[in-house]
């Protein structure tokens, strides 16, 4: 086989491999696995809420878009067909209780039934911000094995 043809074939296959890698790892890259992502910050639930309510701008800069681990006594657990939300309430506001709302990853939905009101829960999730009533964590995983 002629040398120029060999080079052309090698370049062609390298092009195909590169295109596949770009598609797989860049264009179609999977979402982060929030269950396994390490927490950037770990603190008490009431501390996180107090920081957001006392200095919203600074807390948004610090926590929004980060994986945060919080611990505390849960106030309630809300469940419907599609969602399970662990709630830490710290005060009553115009639109009901205000605090931190943690939406669980689907794999933790069934296990949450063993936790009740006032259970100590350590929970980790992606902080999407503070909506002037609650701090919202999504993609949450339970970190303590027993209530």
């Amino acid at each position: 086989m002629k040398t120029w043809l060999k080079i052309l074939l090698i370049l062609f296959f390298m092009g195909i491999i590169s295109a596949f890698l770009v598609y797989h790892f860049v264009i179609n890259k999977p979402h982060p696995d929030y269950d396994k992502e390490p927490a950037k910050y770990s603190l008490k639930a009431n501390e996180l809420f107090n920081q957001f309510t006392s200095n919203k701008k600074e807390s948004e800069k610090k926590y929004n878009g980060q994986v945060v681990e919080i611990s505390g006594k849960c106030t309630s657990i809300e469940q419907n067909d599609s969602l399970a939300v662990v709630v830490f309430s710290f005060k009553a506001g115009m639109f009901g209780d205000e605090g931190i709302r943690c939406t669980l990853l689907p794999k933790y939905k069934s296990g949450i039934t063993k936790y009740k009101k006032d259970s100590e829960i350590k929970i980790k999730g992606f902080c999407s911000g503070y909506n002037d009533t609650d701090v919202i964590l999504i993609k949450c995983s339970i970190q303590n094995k027993t209530p």
């Binding site: 948004e60 639109f95 999407s128 911000g129 009533t133």
Partner: protein, 184 residues
């Protein structure tokens, strides 16, 4: 003294009556859809705060942009970093009034077409919006639905020139909420 006690009870009754008219949710669902030649873009946020004061028709929606979930990770990154700049503008809101709230009777199970008007704020830009929707009532629980379209350029959301032909200039927003009476 007697007068003060009477005034106190009237105030307490009024505040209860007003609270009894408030309906809220913290798990409202807003999704958007945009058709494009290369790929459709859609995302869902089911952490939406919404409240409706039934006595006046006033409502408020509050949405955190980082709570929108996309099927593809790269789309989500582009949405947050390049389009809505969610670090700079972390939330969106829609505050306004249902103008024909009096047409709804909570005591009856039915569905009413409602007209809503208000201020929609996205990407730090506020625009007046008029839209219609439905409110269904079943056993004292309200189910709200609306669908409307916005223009990206109205909210200063610019599309990079390299993908301008692949991304729609409009976005269809769908709202689905189940509101429960606030018990304070």
């Amino acid at each position: 003294m007697k007068k003060i006690i009477i005034v106190f009870f009237i105030m307490a009754f009024l505040s209860l009556a007003v609270n009894a008219q408030k309906y809220i949710t913290k798990t409202g669902k807003i999704s958007f859809f945009s058709s494009a030649p290369l790929e459709n873009i859609e995302a869902v946020n089911d952490q939406v705060n919404a409240a409706l004061d039934f006595s006046t028709g006033d409502f408020v929606f509050k949405v955190l942009m980082k709570s929108f979930e996309f099927p593809k990770s790269l789309m989500q990154e582009h949405f947050n970093e390049n389009y809505v700049e969610s670090d700079k503008y972390p939330d969106a809101s829609f505050t306004g009034k249902i103008t024909n709230i009096k047409d709804i009777n909570v005591a009856n199970n039915n569905t009413v077409i409602v007209q809503a008007q208000g201020d929609l704020t996205i990407h730090g830009v506020t625009k007046k919006i008029n839209t219609s929707g439905t409110i269904g009532i079943k056993n004292g629980v309200l189910t709200g639905y609306s669908k409307f379209t916005i223009l990206l350029k109205d909210y200063n959301i610019s599309i990079p020139k390299t993908v301008v032909n692949n991304i729609s200039k409009t976005i269809e927003i769908t709202v689905n909420i189940i509101l429960n009476k606030l018990n304070n």
